[in-house]
Subunit: 315 residues, 2 copies
């Protein structure tokens, strides 16, 4: 039995070292140079798989994503139809995403960028501030990560509302669902946090119309955007126009339409934007490897693999 | 009955407006111009009171601090001996302090300053990161604020230890107490957070010896300091030397030996230091006024004023 590492865009060494350490009994193969006999390969970890590679594996049983998203796997037009796809749902990944969301929300709430500018100018200036309860954080996407972020923000005193495709119940969080309730959700939201999966429905969801519907009643007078979902969910020219017109107060962006972000992108130098390089919930190789190997052991023992993707839904 | 506003260093308007709105029946006086007959003044809110003013009030019943600290009141050598002093213990103040502590801990943990520098350099670089559980945050001072900060950090996944004068029990937090356990606490601590009250015992407690005893086993190889207590607790030349020698990795300082921080202080431009202008737990005038007026109503109804200061202990 062999496990294939099929991630052209990441260095393979750190991952295959983890895999070989944690599972000396499994034959770890690496595309394209260490493929070996294809009929041995029963499992694959994949991201942006090149066309026809997964399809060429006659005994492939499960495809794993090494992150919470699977959009980069589903967009392979040659993806075999009959092989289940599983995504990682690991507490470590969830905690890291929550850290990112809490950090960015607090940086905006506490005006850390204004404090940074004052520090650069050696200016000892205190300005009026507001309590967390004066702000409503609206979280789009209430999967494991969105739910955890919502709960932690509520504990810190923020008002929190959430929006998801299907109805959810989270203690302390007012939840909205589906297209009919999207505008009501936006109207309540002072800080919009995107943690949605990338699907055809969520492509370009952060656009001029969405931004225009956000609350302007919060203490900053204009809404704030935090995107830790996927870059294809944001229409970057609309975000830039909204920042420049004042329709958006400021933004923290971890993802971009094209990654890595181009050297000449106006986001890098924009005074209202915090750019991070798609690190909101970085995978820890040892932890994620342990999760995937645990799922492979389950599958070999005849138990169902967890967190399987619904291809029709897209996540 | 009159209430005196005796805070020479803050603008009085915003506070007295709040007081008059919330308690139209109370005569609000302001030092030095609107003192009126001294025998009417039964309550005072004070900070850095000028000598002999409080002593000159023959019917003064309670002195209130508008914050959690009372050091600036206790250092008045002419403070009347027989008048109780109360400090504010308000959930709003506690939540703001917790926000500050969580924000600064997360900024260090997630290497936000490194990300900021990369953004300035238009550098898309992801670097290895660690889970919150790889870091131990050590909180000095386990009053209401320290306890709340400790609990919230534990919920975010950090290991948390605490140290206080007298033994405390906080779920999920290993607590150390008193001088005999101080070194054991420091040895465990990767990120030191100071929330101590300012007393003779805590003056200069953040010094070369203390820094030398902190953990060097954390993921950053050297400890991190966050001081949101009082500036007199830190020996600034020792902190600067430790930052420059690498004995400290970095620091967030909200308080300073002399405030406002001098224009020529090396902290302003130090690449390893985040300077904030004593705003960690800024008092919200309306909320704090409501708290103080509530305590005055209690006192007038014959109930004990809460959160009285033990002058011997200093807080």
């Amino acid at each position: 039995m062999a496990l294939l590492y099929l991630i052209p865009t990441w260095p393979s060494d750190i991952w295959t070292t983890c895999m070989r350490q944690q599972a000396p009994d499994i034959d770890i193969r690496v595309w394209p140079d260490q493929m070996g006999p294809l009929a041995d390969i029963e499992y694959a970890v994949a991201w942006l798989p090149p066309a026809n590679v997964l399809r060429s594996l006659p005994r492939l049983k499960v495809i794993f994503s090494l992150g919470a998203g699977v959009d980069a796997i589903l967009k392979d037009p040659t993806l075999p139809d009959n092989v289940p796809i599983a995504r990682v749902n690991d507490p470590d990944l969830t905690m890291r995403m929550t850290e990112y969301v809490v950090l960015q929300v607090l940086m905006h709430h506490r005006q850390q960028r204004r404090l940074d500018e004052n520090q650069r100018n050696r200016l000892w200036d205190s300005f009026p501030t507001h309590a967390a309860s004066a702000l409503t954080v609206g979280i789009m996407g209430l999967g494991v990560m969105g739910t955890d972020s919502a709960s932690k923000l509520a504990l810190l005193g923020f008002k929190v509302v959430g929006w998801s495709r299907s109805p959810k119940t989270i203690p302390g969080v007012e939840c909205f669902a589906g297209a009919p309730e999207f505008d009501s959700f936006l109207e309540r939201t002072d800080i919009l946090v995107c943690l949605l999966p990338h699907t055809p429905e969520t492509t370009g969801i952060i656009n001029r119309e969405t931004i225009a519907k956000l609350s302007r009643k919060g203490p900053f007078g204009a809404p704030i955007l935090i995107n830790a979902g996927r870059g294809k969910q944001q229409v970057e020219k609309d975000i830039l126009a909204a920042l420049d017109s004042g329709a958006l107060h400021s933004a923290s962006l971890d993802v971009f339409e094209t990654e890595p972000l181009a050297q000449d992108s106006p986001f890098w130098g924009h005074p209202k934007v915090t750019v991070t390089p798609h690190v909101a919930a970085d995978s820890d190789p040892a932890t994620i490897t342990a999760y995937v190997l645990g799922q492979i052991r389950r599958h070999q023992a005849g138990l169902p693999v967890e967190n399987l993707v619904d291809r029709g839904r897209g996540y």
